[in-house]
Subunit: 283 residues, 2 copies
């Protein structure tokens, strides 16, 4: 039996290995400056922060430590969003890994957790959209410089993430009881094939469900909609089993265009963790 | 900076990801019952044992714990030989990761370390040759049942491994000051390309140097010699850069025939660890 922190690390490794995961680094594809080995190193580096969460540390400090460790490799942000989902899930697994428990975990976050979350941005560049004007002082890209403004307003980490919805489907998990993460876990358990085949299938199904918010932020809403339309078509006609060439071509096309559905990969990693913890995946 | 235990885990991950590694599981190839994800899980499972070594536990108990954790996944033996090299190297890194220090570490092993080594065989099936008749009571496949005989004869873990040479090039590292592991580290540092490209190049160079002892044990000396002749030819004409097709064909051929140069992969993992610890590889 693996500990929750080990299952979280394994979830990160299985997520990046699952292939094809169109637009993302996978077992068979690298992006220009973000390669498979950076994700391996990021997973190892995140370990201490994940262990802190398992030992009952605050979500913010555990997340900051995980991100700091993840960012030891030179490519920078490999698994920031995945860790923002995994840390509260690991923390919930101390008690019981259910949606109500993880909802309590995130709702009980504090201003100190929010401050640690902002400090995490000091360790790594994360691609985010400009905030609304009234939130400018709280732009996450300010990192720890934003902490005084955050404390003035008394915002908890839950409050901060609530303000990032819509537009960020990692934040949306926080305010919606990790609905898609738990759905992904069920799909992983119900899917056929090896763990890595299941990972690819569930990634595609999630991408078919909703436009990826990282794609929307970086490439625009139209591209995000197009990607989800293509994913839905491939998913509906079960292309992973019936037309592998079509999905591999889709994957190559997204990588070439620099279209990176990274949020969908984050939710996939969260789903892998939940499935591993609940015995829904045999390895 | 990663801790030595983390670098050891990362070495296991980089080793399995390096491709092409003819005859072994790699980023692009699975074996029939041994897949990429089993190695990912094995690396995560080995973590506690590696941490024990880093914390100064005996080489035997740390190794047994690493193997027990590694064997949590269903495919069984993924990294037994690699861990038998990594555990003393991690232990040496507490002081100084040099050949003389790791030589002291293995020479100072005790009968208790040997007993733990035998118990490790209770956790996993490892492919080994029949021992000579006078060593029958000490056949490692007896696992913990062999411990009384071991204690009767007062053999340390170093003594046990010394008796496995020739015929097992992991054991040979123990009695030769981890010569090839340190050579591999130098080659990794001197090679060109990404870490995974370097891993593939150094694997091929090691396979070109000496017949793989796992291949000799499982497929016979003639096959082991043939494999090394082909590796030497490909290495000498720099096929990784000039004739990639030839080396990919070699890799596919070995996988199809079930010829698995696993000992060479073990030494590659050890080399990766030494190179990571000494700053010879940037990630």
């Amino acid at each position: 039996m693996y500990t929750p922190a080990q299952n979280a690390q394994l979830a990160l490794l299985l997520e990046v290995a699952g292939t094809p995961k169109p637009g993302n680094v996978d077992r068979h594809r690298d992006l220009a400056d973000l390669r498979f080995e950076h994700f391996l190193a990021g997973s190892v580096g995140a370990q201490r922060g994940l262990e802190m969460a398992a030992d009952g540390a605050g979500v913010g400090p555990a997340f900051e430590r995980a991100v700091e460790g993840m960012a030891t490799q030179s490519a920078g942000n490999t698994q920031f969003g995945a860790l923002l989902l995994l840390v509260p899930l690991v923390r919930a697994a101390r008690e019981d890994l259910t949606q109500p428990v993880v909802e309590s975990v995130v709702e009980e976050t504090t201003v100190a957790d929010a401050a640690a979350f902002y400090r995490a941005f000091d360790h790594v560049d994360v691609f985010v959209d400009d905030p609304p004007a009234e939130m400018d002082a709280l732009d996450v890209r300010r990192g720890s410089d934003a902490v005084p403004a955050l404390e003035d307003r008394g915002l908890t980490l839950f409050d901060v993430l609530e303000r990032s919805v819509p537009g960020d489907d990692v934040a949306r998990e926080w305010v919606r009881g990790f609905e898609r993460s738990f759905t992904a876990a069920e799909r992983l358990a119900d899917a056929n094939g090896t763990v890595l085949d299941r990972t690819a299938a569930v990634f595609l199904s999630l991408l078919a469900d909703r436009p990826d918010t990282l794609v929307a932020t970086r490439s625009g809403e139209a591209v995000a909609a197009e990607v989800t339309d293509r994913a839905r078509d491939l998913h509906e006609r079960n292309a992973l089993e019936t037309d592998r060439e079509a999905i591999e071509a889709f994957a190559d096309d997204l990588v070439e265009r620099g279209v990176n559905p990274g949020t969908t990969a984050d939710v996939t990693a969260a789903g892998l963790f939940v499935a591993l913890e609940r015995g829904g995946l045999e390895l």
